[in-house]
Amino acid sequence: MSRLRLYQIMVIAGFILLLEVLCFTGVIDKVTMPPPHIIVRDFISMLLAGRYFGEIGKSLANVLAAFASAYVVGVVVGTVLHSYRTARDILDPLFATYYAIPVFAFYPLFIVMFGLGDGPQVLIGFLLAVVAVIVTMLNGLDRVPLVLKKTAQVSGLNALQTAVRVTLPFCAPYLLTAAKLALAYAFIGVIGSEFIMARSGMGYEISYAYTNFDNATMYPLILLILLLSIAANSLLSHWERVLLARRGQM
């Protein structure tokens, strides 16, 4: 284990220990937050009992749908847009200011348009994620060296083959960065939407538990979301590190 990793573990362990001490000494009262070891105990018993599996599965399915659709659309739109300078120049200001738009404010409108099902939640996750993918994709494509495109041309590759064989593989680290961003935004979009108006899903259950002072449900669900997003992000980061190391960029 590297020294850096050891320090990282020590920081996390130190933070958990601090929370334990604060809870134990009463600085944080039990109504606000139980000690971390109680949260872990409740988390394990929740999983062993199979409680909320339906809610968890529904939220994760919506996150996956938002992530996958945003990723595919973002990669395709980014690739196409990169070929059309004028269209890109027109859209660049929108991309630059996009995250200043409060997408959640449109949630009631989406419910009117798509009903009370999962559609509005997936749409918000999609809308939050897709522009991050497009911008990252454009950023990656801007960095493809001209000499590699010329090499593709000399090798007789057409535009589609050049995209598949040269430009997209070159952009692989950017594609992974885009995936990390898209996943994070999809989580935020879907779980956040469930908080507001949904009648099911992890976000709704957390919100419901919060209003009923049910810490034994709320904190284990928060912990689960944390663990899932960290696990997915770590997996993509590991893959990104392998790619970058192979290219001598780490």
Binding site: V147, K150, T151, G156, F170, R246, G248
Partner: protein
């Protein structure tokens, strides 16, 4: 060595108005013939259109006027089959290892995977990269990466190899050794080689004929026959008349280089 491989007839390249609104007359008109199996070099001052000339012959860009022919056929918009290019910049694909990079050169050829592997292995051996076949470009030196690019080009057995200052980014010793490699490849493959370089000694060492280009718009202002034997290597620089050769090139080129710097006619 009599048949003509490449013919340039009144080739001119004018780039349309850029952001400054200036039209750039980069090249020409140029008339030239490169013979089959010849090692032909082009030297010229910076910005005289050497690389543009190579891109015209490669089919990477089209002439504004005139025509470029390869083996008697006019080069249209595409890179003709049988032409390979080695660029100055590092053109290795960083996500592919050495073997995969070399096999990429065979994409145009409809051959079986085993045959691809066999040919790639042979060229990797030829370029002295056997121990690095599974290495990624990031694990190689600049000279080795350039050898991978040369291997990727020659594995396709091109009849015309275009070299765009391929050793420009390398140190002097590596350049001399790479020059030896290139001469060996030229002899063993029997290909015609067209070399763009800014290094007069490199052109004098490698080429059978050297075209000297003027300042922009680039035109051929001198054509020098080196008269070296086909069996040669970098030790040719030790010959008495090697210095005279580079002196002649420099004498022609000096005035053109001064023009590029805006100081034409100065000095002794």
């Amino acid at each position: 060595m009599t048949a003509t491989e490449v013919t340039l007839r009144g080739v001119t390249k004018v780039f349309p108005a850029n952001a400054d609104g200036r039209v750039v007359h980069a090249l020409g008109p140029i008339d030239a013939e490169i013979k089959k199996g010849e090692f032909f070099a082009v030297v010229g001052p910076s910005g005289c259109g050497k690389s543009t000339l190579l891109e015209l012959i490669a089919g990477l860009t089209a002439p504004t006027e005139g025509a470029v022919e390869f083996e008697g056929r006019v080069i249209e918009k595409n890179v003709p089959e049988g032409v390979g290019v080695v660029f100055q910049e590092d053109a290795c694909f960083p996500w592919l290892n050495v073997r995969e990079n070399v096999e990429f050169g065979l994409r145009r050829q409809n051959i079986r995977a085993e045959e691809k592997a066999r040919r790639a292995a042979a060229v990797i051996d030829m370029m002295g990269l056997h121990d690095f076949a599974r290495s990624y470009p990031a694990q190689l030196s600049g000279g080795m990466r350039q050898r991978v690019c040369i291997a990727r080009t020659i594995v396709a057995e091109p009849r015309l190899i275009l070299l765009d200052e391929p050793f420009g980014a390398l140190d002097q010793q590596t350049r001399l050794l790479m020059g030896d490699e290139m001469l060996r490849v030229w002899r063993e493959t029997g290909a015609t080689v067209f070399l763009i370089t800014h290094a007069l000694d490199e052109a004098a060492m490698l080429a059978d004929r050297i075209a000297v280009m003027s300042a922009r718009p680039g035109k051929v202002i001198d054509l020098v026959q080196t008269g070296w034997p086909r069996e040669r290597d970098s030790r040719i620089v030790e010959r008495e008349n090697f210095g005279a050769m580079t002196s002649r090139l420099w004498k022609t080129l000096r005035e053109e280089s001064l023009k590029t710097m805006g100081r034409a006619g100065s000095g002794a």
